[in-house]
């Protein structure tokens, strides 16, 4: 309605200031292009480890090994996607491990009660989404921090799993093969789990990079007040992210159920830590506003690659956690120090 007016402003001022062409054209602009360096670095590290390992172990460069590695982080990787989105908006979810388990347990219990596994799974996933929604409500209405709220829900969800199963693992061997296919089937030699995981990754990576909804997620996470002052309904955005994280945890739980054919109430303890580690190695910031799905997946891949390499190299199992923890520390420190240098060269006053 007023575009003609603004155009007039432009032409007018441009004739006023012919020298005003400080903005260069033609530079390839990808929104949030600053994260490209991080992703490239991770790919390089992963390649270096792969090359080194292919010399160190004859089993490394086999399809079986790669398949096993991909399988090992594919399902957890679905949770990493949700966590990354929540980290970008400035939140965090400690409850994911418990919620994955809850999805498994609810789905399993409903199936054992006679419901068909598909409906049971759908209900389980929605229940997890509802938990995410509740957390978002607590955060935005009461004004609590995601850390505290999700800590509470981590315990609550675990308690619900124990309550539903009375503390004993449920065997689900009678799951129909069509459902088990989700977790155990292959398509042309490629496990369905991996295909599903890559589908989710590509879908959300595209959304995050290109959709207006997820652009608002970056705005909110980068500076919530500035987002409010840009007319963005930040509370709604946070609730959407929290719900999404719950839903994706639910999906992962159902896939685990199909894969293992069982529902164990102790499943997923400590998963939140490796999920957060993967997202952070991949460039997500605990302060919000930064991170990509692609980066987070590379982070998850790196952790999985290191674990599998340590096994192939016969490193005692007790050392593995120490080494993975050190990798997290080194990756995050390196990035922080590099960024610091970048900042101090670009700002002066």
């Amino acid at each position: 309605m007023t575009s003609a007016k603004a155009l007039k402003t432009e032409t007018k001022s441009e004739t006023n200031k012919p020298e005003a062409t400080a903005v260069q054209n033609g530079v390839h602009n990808r929104m949030l292009g600053i994260f490209k360096a991080r992703e490239a670095g991770l790919v390089a590290i992963i390649l270096i480890i792969c090359i080194a390992m292919s010399f160190a172990s004859p089993y490394f460069l086999t399809w079986q090994n790669f398949r096993a590695m991909l399988l090992s982080f594919s399902i957890e990787g679905i949770v990493v996607v949700g966590m990354t989105i929540l980290l970008i908006v400035g939140g965090i979810d400690l409850s994911v491990g418990s919620v994955v388990c809850l999805a498994m347990v609810i789905g399993g219990k409903l199936f054992l009660m006679g419901l068909d596994p598909w409906s049971a799974s759908l209900i389980a996933v929605l229940a997890c989404g509802f938990i995410g929604y509740l957390m978002g409500q607590c955060v935005t209405r009461i004004g609590l921090h995601f850390f505290i709220v999700s800590l509470a829900f981590m315990v609550i969800a675990r308690g619900l799993s124990l309550l539903i199963t009375k503390g004993t693992p449920q065997s689900l061997f009678s799951l129909p093969p069509s459902f088990k296919f989700i977790g155990q089937g292959d398509i042309a030699g490629m496990p369905f789990v991996i295909i599903l995981f890559f589908g989710i990754v590509v879908f959300f990576d595209l959304l995050l990079r290109h959709s207006t909804l997820f652009r608002k997620v970056y705005y909110t996470g980068s500076n919530e007040k500035a987002a409010l002052f840009s007319g963005i309904k930040t509370k709604r955005i946070k609730i959407v992210c929290s719900t999404l994280c719950g839903l994706l945890s639910g999906v992962a739980g159902v896939v685990y159920m199909a894969r293992f054919g069982a529902a164990t109430p102790q499943f997923g303890i400590g998963m939140e830590l490796s999920v957060i580690a993967a997202a952070v190695i991949g460039g997500a910031s605990l302060n919000g506003g930064a991170g990509t799905i692609f980066g987070a997946v590379l982070g998850a891949a790196l952790l999985s690659l290191v674990t599998s390499s340590l096994i192939l190299l016969d490193v005692p199992v007790y050392w593995q956690d120490i080494i993975r923890g050190l990798i997290l520390l080194v990756a995050v420190s390196a990035d922080h120090l590099l960024n610091k240098r970048k900042r101090s060269t670009s700002t002066k006053s």
């Binding site: 007023t2 409010l228 101090s344 700002t347």
Partner: protein, 518 residues
């Protein structure tokens, strides 16, 4: 008399950026030495070196007759060099008193806190400035009061040299006056003061000598009494600045059509029955002291504040205040006074900042069209002569003036009909300031309604066609033409004079005579 502080040939680089290239400065005891230069000239870098925030790459600091090394701020304070930060560096969750005595507490050797003494000393320091309740949490205070706390904090240190880095950037004139009295008092106690500010008037009012930096290099040191603002500005910019303010609009009359009209706006808080009209082609100023309700008025109109009562009409049609997103869609936008806190997304790219208000302009079916976004950002960047390498670099890499241009471009990207600028030139250097004034004037000439809130009276007087003055949430009156003087505005702002009730102003503006009810 010997200088108390001398710096010789200081160099400092950050990576590839040569922030300081051999600067010199000498400070006498009891002298107010102003340091001027555009943003990026190296003033703050030198002050950070003098207060021990980071060391110089090269050069000597000669203090009280010997060379000293300042590895950290505590050491600088121990020597007696205190800094009032430009960026407010306070702990928001602890009380005013504890903040003020933070450095003093750190220097104390006793193990236990003495809360009573802390309160008493804080109250004593504040009594000389502006009384602020010392038990209040700093985070709950408005920015101006936080700035006062920051100043009070430095005053508690037993300093021989005090550095003020843009202390008045967030203060109103009355508060600044109080600060100048304090500075005069410090001066009489033989304390050397380095004073950084972009406000020419106050530099000439309080300083003894002026040193100018440009692009990290020393340009000149002059006696204040023997120079003038034009000469200083020329030295700062390296070229002559002819006219800071663009010409006003001579064609405004009471008959000029009204873009926005506000009647009896109240917000249940500070605002009471605010009424005014914003005419087409006009730059309307909104002045008053801090706390008078200037920003609150803007928030109330845009739907950023409390629930409001009163009638607002845009283009003669009634406008219901809802969410801010609704206001944006109706062509009403607000530029926040706190650029870093709520104006821009520092970590995000310039392009992403510029399109933040309404992504629908650069998207289709819920997906951002990156090419359109880049083009839009580059267009607006060119229009505002934004200086950057490309629009995908983060806003944090820009200088204050260019960050502010990004914030303005963000407003313009939605083709607004009315823009409320809250402190449009805060923390912006001279060159960028006059560019921003021209931008505002051009917008008004193109029919966009421009309402400017400012604490700087010369800015309001130079830029605006008409100035409304708020006092305690009410419109105390308005000034235009010959009546536009600092004295007149001050009288209204302080409540000494009250022209008429807000009701009358609305009527007088609608009246055919257009005469002022003064």
């Amino acid at each position: 008399m010997q200088p108390i502080l001398e710096v010789h040939d200081i160099h400092k680089s950050f990576g590839a950026v040569h922030a300081l290239r051999g600067v010199n400065l000498s400070l006498m005891p009891g002298e107010v030495h102003a340091l001027m230069g555009e943003n990026g000239a190296g003033k703050s870098t030198l002050m950070n070196i003098l207060s021990g925030v980071f060391p110089p790459d090269q050069g000597r600091i000669h203090f009280k007759g010997r060379d000293i090394v300042l590895p950290d701020p505590a050491k600088a304070q121990a020597h007696g060099i205190g800094l009032v930060h430009q960026e407010i560096a306070l702990c928001p969750d602890i009380s005013v008193a504890e903040n003020i005595l933070m450095a003093a507490t750190n220097a104390r050797t006793s193990f236990l806190m003495n809360d009573r003494e802390v309160r008493a000393r804080a109250e004593k320091v504040l009594a000389d400035l502006i009384p602020i309740p010392v038990d209040e949490k700093v985070g709950d205070l408005p920015i101006a009061s936080q700035q006062i706390v920051e100043i009070a904090k430095a005053l508690t240190l037993d300093c021989d040299v005090l550095i003020f880095d843009e202390p008045t950037a967030a203060l109103t004139d009355t508060e600044a006056e109080a600060l100048f009295r304090i500075i005069a008092d410090l001066k009489s106690r033989n304390i050397g003061i380095i004073y950084i500010s972009h406000r020419m008037a106050e530099i000439f009012a309080i300083s003894d000598r002026i040193t100018v930096f440009r692009d990290g290099a020393f340009v000149d040191t002059l006696m204040t009494a023997q120079t003038n603002p034009d000469e200083i500005a020329t030295k700062m910019v390296g070229r002559e600045i002819l006219n800071q303010f663009p010409a006003k609009n001579p064609d405004l009359t009471a008959q000029t059509s009204c873009l926005l009209s506000v009647r009896n706006l109240s917000d249940g808080g500070v605002l009471r029955d605010v009424s005014f009209d914003l005419r087409k082609g006009e730059v309307l100023g909104l002045g008053g002291l801090i706390g008078a309700g200037r920003s609150e008025t803007a928030h109330a109109i845009c739907g950023l504040g409390r629930k409001t009562n009163g009638d607002i009409t845009m283009h003669g049609k009634p406008f219901e205040v809802g969410d801010y997103s609704d206001s944006i869609r109706n062509g009403l936008v607000y530029l926040s006074e706190d650029r870093k806190g709520s104006g821009v997304f520092l970590d995000l790219s310039i392009a992403a900042n510029i399109t933040a208000l309404d992504l629908r302009h650069v998207s289709a079916n819920g997906f951002v069209r990156h090419k359109a976004e880049t083009t839009r950002a580059e267009e607006l960047g060119r229009l505002l002569s934004l200086r950057c390498e490309n629009v995908s670099q983060p806003v944090s890499s820009l200088s204050g003036g260019n960050q502010q241009k990004v914030a303005i471009a963000k407003m313009l990207s939605v083709h607004p009909e009315i823009i409320i600028f809250d402190e449009p030139t805060r923390g912006v250097d001279v060159g960028a300031k006059s560019e921003i004034y021209t931008i505002l004037r051009n917008l008004a000439a193109d029919g966009v309604g421009v309402l400017v809130i400012s604490s700087e009276m010369p800015e309001l007087i130079g830029l605006c066609d008409r100035i409304l003055v708020l006092h305690e949430g009410k419109i105390a009156g308005q000034v235009e033409n010959d009546l536009m003087t600092e004295e007149e505005i001050m009288k209204l702002a302080s409540g000494i004079a009250c022209q008429s009730t807000s009701q009358n102003i609305g009527q007088s503006m609608n009246a055919t005579t257009g005469g002022m009810a003064s």
